[in-house]
């Protein structure tokens, strides 16, 4: 779109944002449009209700946690840079970028993607997924007809499989190890622009 540059100039700190997240100008503009579109009351920032207005999101069992991930640390407002930063986790991994061992990891690195997921599970942010937290997640993702007993048995076995140091909770390292075989780069990437 020809208006990319003019819109880009309207976005504050666009350059820094692109640097930090690795999005291209077109991506940033697109996301900005979306941000504005979500902000129906033209408040200039987003609040959880705006996310609630996304119809398809309501049909997602873990939508609340995801919305919570955007509004971390109890904030009620989401500004554009934070919005972009969170979405940056899902940028497809750049296969071509040279690996610079000194620079900090990209937001969309495998490790950061995993960390994002981990934080979705770990609601109280103590660095571990406790049995209770796992139960909650499972509860949201399983149909209602699964009974409490069944749920608990699943949770128990899940923890058993992943928990290596036997502390009845899954730490980030254990989580990462259990996800070794999973193609995170593939499963946690979406196209932001056609």
């Amino acid at each position: 779109m020809g208006s990319t540059n003019s819109t880009l100039s309207k976005i504050p700190n666009a350059g820094d944002l692109m640097q930090e997240t690795g999005f291209s100008p077109a991506h940033i503009v697109r996301l900005y449009d979306r941000y504005k579109a979500l902000d129906k009351d033209k408040k200039g920032h987003l609040c959880p209700q705006d996310f609630g207005a996304i119809k398809e999101l309501a049909m997602n069992p873990i939508s609340d946690r995801i919305i919570g991930a955007f509004f971390s640390s109890g904030q009620e407002v989401l500004d554009f840079p934070s919005f972009v930063r969170i979405l940056a986790h899902f940028r497809p991994v750049d296969k071509n970028r040279p690996k610079d061992p000194n620079s900090p990891e990209h937001i969309n690195s495998r490790s950061n993607k995993l960390k994002f997921i981990f934080q979705l599970y770990d609601q109280d942010k103590d660095g571990k997924i406790s049995r209770q937290e796992l139960l909650q997640v499972l509860r949201t993702m399983l149909e209602k007809q699964v009974t409490e007993e069944q749920l608990e048995s699943i949770a128990d076995r899940t923890i058993q499989e992943a928990d290596l140091d036997r502390d009845d909770a899954i730490s980030f390292d254990e989580f990462r190890k259990s996800m070794e075989k999973v193609n995170i780069e593939h499963k946690m990437s979406i196209r932001f622009l056609r």
């Binding site: 209700q49 309501a58 049909m59 499972l138 993702m141 209602k144 076995r157 259990s178 946690m188």
Partner: protein, 822 residues
């Protein structure tokens, strides 16, 4: 069913069949008699009886076969075909093994054999005219009407690529290869040329929509794959028609006259036929939508308009030699949204049911007749080389085409289509009755080898439908198993995989769906402002909130089931049912409207009933269960996850099915998810906002038009925010919402209108307020609560402030229950 009843069924069918044959014999005799009679007398007084004009005495009863002959035979054949379908469904073992279409064809063979045995000639064939004009249109209309539009249009590019390029490739490749083999002498002596081979290739090239659906229904594939094959099978008709007509014209012109001009004309005709057909479909869709805007007064027959106009669109396109299938498809695709919004709910249901009846019925008949037609010595010309080579080429080139095109398309997709899906797609390239119909309508004067072509087409059709249909499921299973088994996923991997899918779906939604670009947004805007204004009823326009309409529909069904279930068990017994157990509601659409009474009888106290299974187990059974549980824990956990994890958008949310039109499981899931989401949101916001009064205005009693509450799009009107802690207001708001909409949507009339008791707010709210996103399953757990600490944030839908109000308060009760019970 016991084997005896099956056998007796079979006998009945055969008996009817025998009757048919006898009557057909009579028919032949009578027709020859009539012929001689008419030639003798020279009169055309057909209404008189069979014998000569003079009678000697007053007849009490006469045999008037020839009066009713045609309709009788038609009806009888329809009956027999449907009986065959019934028989095919009876034997469950057979059903799981054979696809239904194959069984129907085989029944057709049997029936054809009987007829042939009686008549020594195949009197009942699949005549192309009947097929194209009477059997096919309703199937395609059904397809278009139930097409998942969003999915279809977002994948339209890929579908078009496959439909156009794939079909052209198939046609050209098969035609030319066959020609090459003919030149090489593999087929012996035939009176045939390159053009005729190309013609033959083009009629065999198209994947058949009828056959594809019939098989794909039984094999669950992911929705992208499904829509690709499905869409392709529909849209390739445009190409097929063009190719067929062009090559037919070329054949009549003769090879010499074909120059660049003709070829260019051929290419131009493609565009004209395809776009013209689609345009006609769209025009008729507009007509239908406009019409339904004004048919509110004739609700009984407004459903019929759709069928008539759909059929007319087919015939109009056919008349103009444009693509009729495309026309009907787009007619259905474009009108579904407006028609469903404009028409009364009952009419919508009527249309849906009737569509399915017609489509399913026609499909059955098509397959049976495909079988019957085979038993005819006239058409069978055997040429081993031709037939086998055709089969080979059709298969091979399909695979090649699909793999090549998908490889190209994958370069533009983030999530590539996997090999297995490509194999399934290639394998699913079934040919069906359309190919046969085209072959049978060939002109034998121009195409000397018509019978050979018919034979070959039939064999290809049988091969693809029966053999490929048969092997599709085992193939898929084998491939999938082969893929997964090397590393059996651990529980946590499974959970996480599903979580990823959900997260990804959520992120896609948040960042705007893929394909939510400038064009689609512009189109949506255009559509919202102009088209819906033009084509939708005003009330419908305002109530277009998709989610809530689904909810309304689901709640309606739930309410009905709830009532019937309660009636079945008596209200007291119903008390012991908890939310956790699943009472198997059959989704019936009748209801009795006694809901308020049952509501009042229920005890709204806090029942702490343990989740029990439906049957009351004896003590010993319970213990046994526990033991079993311990032993099978491992298996159970995986199995549970497999069964009960919510499916994400990506996998298996089948939206189209020819045989099941009712709400399928994924919509149940969606409802469940939505309820929980709303409930939990309410909880969290309640706890977060306890006691906080936002600076939003308390509005006046919304006695005004409740439709205003559904103003979509724009910013939420702050003046419409609802007050805080006023049950009366809330209640009458529900009331006015109900009365405002009147009988349009929800037909249960509730008499509790004047009650102040907050306990009853739930009941009429649930009934009257049609937008409640929770089901009556929760109702019996409700405690009479003082609703005093509701959040009034418009968190639910930015454009539906009304509904959030009552949905906020009502899910509170279940959430309260959750709190105490869980």
């Amino acid at each position: 069913m016991a084997p005896y009843s099956q056998l007796s069924f079979l006998l009945t069918v055969l008996l009817i069949f025998g009757a048919l044959c006898v009557t057909s014999k009579v028919q032949i005799q009578s027709s020859s008699e009539r012929q001689s009679a008419s030639s003798n007398t020279g009169s055309t007084g057909e209404s008189t009886s069979n014998s000569s004009a003079s009678i000697t005495t007053v007849p009490i009863v006469t045999w008037k076969w020839h009066h009713v002959e045609t309709p009788y035979l038609v009806a009888l054949w329809i009956l027999v075909c449907w009986l065959c379908k019934l028989m095919a469904q009876l034997n469950s073992k057979l059903k799981s093994f054979f696809p239904e279409s194959a069984l129907l064809i085989i029944s057709g063979f049997i029936l054809g054999g009987i007829v042939w045995g009686a008549d020594k000639a195949q009197t009942f064939k699949l005549v192309p005219r009947n097929f194209f004009y009477f059997l096919l249109p309703q199937i395609i209309l059904d397809t278009g009407y139930f097409m998942p539009n969003k999915l279809f249009f977002s994948n339209l590019g890929a579908i078009l690529v496959h439909a156009v390029i794939g079909t052209c490739w198939n046609a050209a490749a098969v035609g030319i290869s066959l020609w090459g083999c003919y030149l090489g002498g593999a087929m012996g002596n035939l009176q045939i040329g390159l053009l005729q081979f190309l013609l033959f290739g083009s009629l065999l090239a198209a994947v058949d929509p009828v056959a594809v659906i019939a098989v794909f229904e039984e094999v669950h594939v992911n929705e992208v794959l499904f829509i690709w094959v499905f869409g392709e099978s529909l849209l390739n008709d445009g190409v097929t028609v063009v190719l067929y007509n062009v090559f037919d014209a070329f054949v009549s012109l003769g090879g010499e006259k074909i120059n660049a001009g003709e070829i260019i004309k051929g290419i131009v005709s493609f565009f004209v036929v395809a776009f013209g057909g689609s345009l006609i479909g769209v025009v008729f869709a507009i007509l239908i939508s406009l019409l339904t805007k004004y048919t509110g007064k004739v609700q009984i027959i407004e459903a019929g308009f759709i069928f008539v106009l759909g059929y007319l669109s087919y015939l109009t396109a056919e008349m103009l030699s444009l693509s009729a299938i495309l026309s009907v498809t787009f007619c259905g695709v474009c009108c579904q949204k407006y028609v469903n919004a404009n028409m009364d709910e009952k009419s919508v249901t009527a249309v849906r049911y009737a569509m399915k009846v017609f489509a399913n019925g026609s499909e059955t008949m098509i397959f049976v007749f495909l079988g019957v037609t085979a038993i005819d010595t006239d058409i069978w010309v055997w040429n081993t080389g031709f037939i086998l080579l055709t089969l080979l080429f059709v298969l091979v080139y399909r695979f090649m085409g699909v793999f090549f095109l998908t490889w190209i398309l994958n370069r533009y997709r983030l999530v590539p289509i996997e090999l297995i899906d490509q194999i399934v797609m290639s394998f699913g390239g079934l040919r069906g009755a359309v190919a046969y119909g085209l072959a049978a309508s060939l002109d034998e004067t121009r195409i000397k080898e018509k019978n050979l072509m018919i034979t070959t087409t039939l064999i290809v059709v049988y091969f693809t439908v029966i053999l490929q249909g048969l092997t599709m499921k085992p193939l898929v299973k084998w491939l999938k198993v082969k893929r997964v088994s090397p590393t059996e996923l651990k529980l946590i991997e499974k959970v996480n995989n599903r979580a990823f899918e959900h997260i990804l779906a959520a992120m896609e939604d948040i960042s705007g769906r893929i394909g939510d670009n400038w064009w689609t947004r512009g189109w949506k805007r255009f559509e919202d402002t102009y088209i819906t204004w033009f084509l939708m009823k005003p009330e419908a326009r305002k109530n277009r909130d998709y989610l809530f309409s689904i909810f309304h529909k689901l709640n309606l069904e739930d309410a009905i089931n709830y009532v019937t279930e309660a009636e079945k068990r008596g209200s007291l017994a119903f008390l012991n049912q908890t939310d956790g157990t699943i009472v198997n509601f059959e989704k019936k659409l009748r209801f009795s409207g006694v809901m308020p009474d049952i509501m009042s009888e229920l005890d709204f106290g806090n029942n702490n009933v343990q989740p029990t299974s439906d049957t009351v187990p004896s003590v010993s059974l319970n213990i046994h269960e526990h033991e079993m549980k311990r032993m099978n824990e491992d298996f159970n956990a995986h199995h549970l996850l497999q069964q009960h994890l919510y499916r994400s958008r990506k996998n298996h949310r089948h939206k189209y099915s020819r045989s099941n039109f009712s709400i399928n499981q994924s919509e149940d899931e969606v409802q469940e998810i939505f309820q929980r989401t709303m409930r939990s949101r309410l909880e969290s916001f309640k706890s977060a906002k306890m006691g906080v009064t936002p600076a939003k205005k308390i509005t006046k009693h919304p006695k005004k038009d409740p439709n205003h509450k559904m103003s979509n799009g724009k910013t939420t009107d702050k003046s419409k925010k609802h007050p805080y802690g006023d049950e009366d207001f809330e209640f009458s708001e529900a009331d006015s919402a109900y009365s405002g909409d009147g009988p349009r949507r929800f037909k249960l009339t509730l008499s509790v209108a004047g009650v102040e008791n907050p306990a009853f707010i739930v009941a009429p709210s649930q009934g009257a307020q049609r937008y409640l996103p929770w089901s009556p399953r929760n109702l019996h757990r409700l405690a009479p609560l003082r609703i005093s600490d509701r959040s009034t944030d418009s968190f639910l839908m930015a454009d539906a402030p009304a509904t959030e109000e009552s949905s906020e308060e009502s899910p509170q009760q279940p959430s309260q229950r959750d709190g105490t019970h869980m």
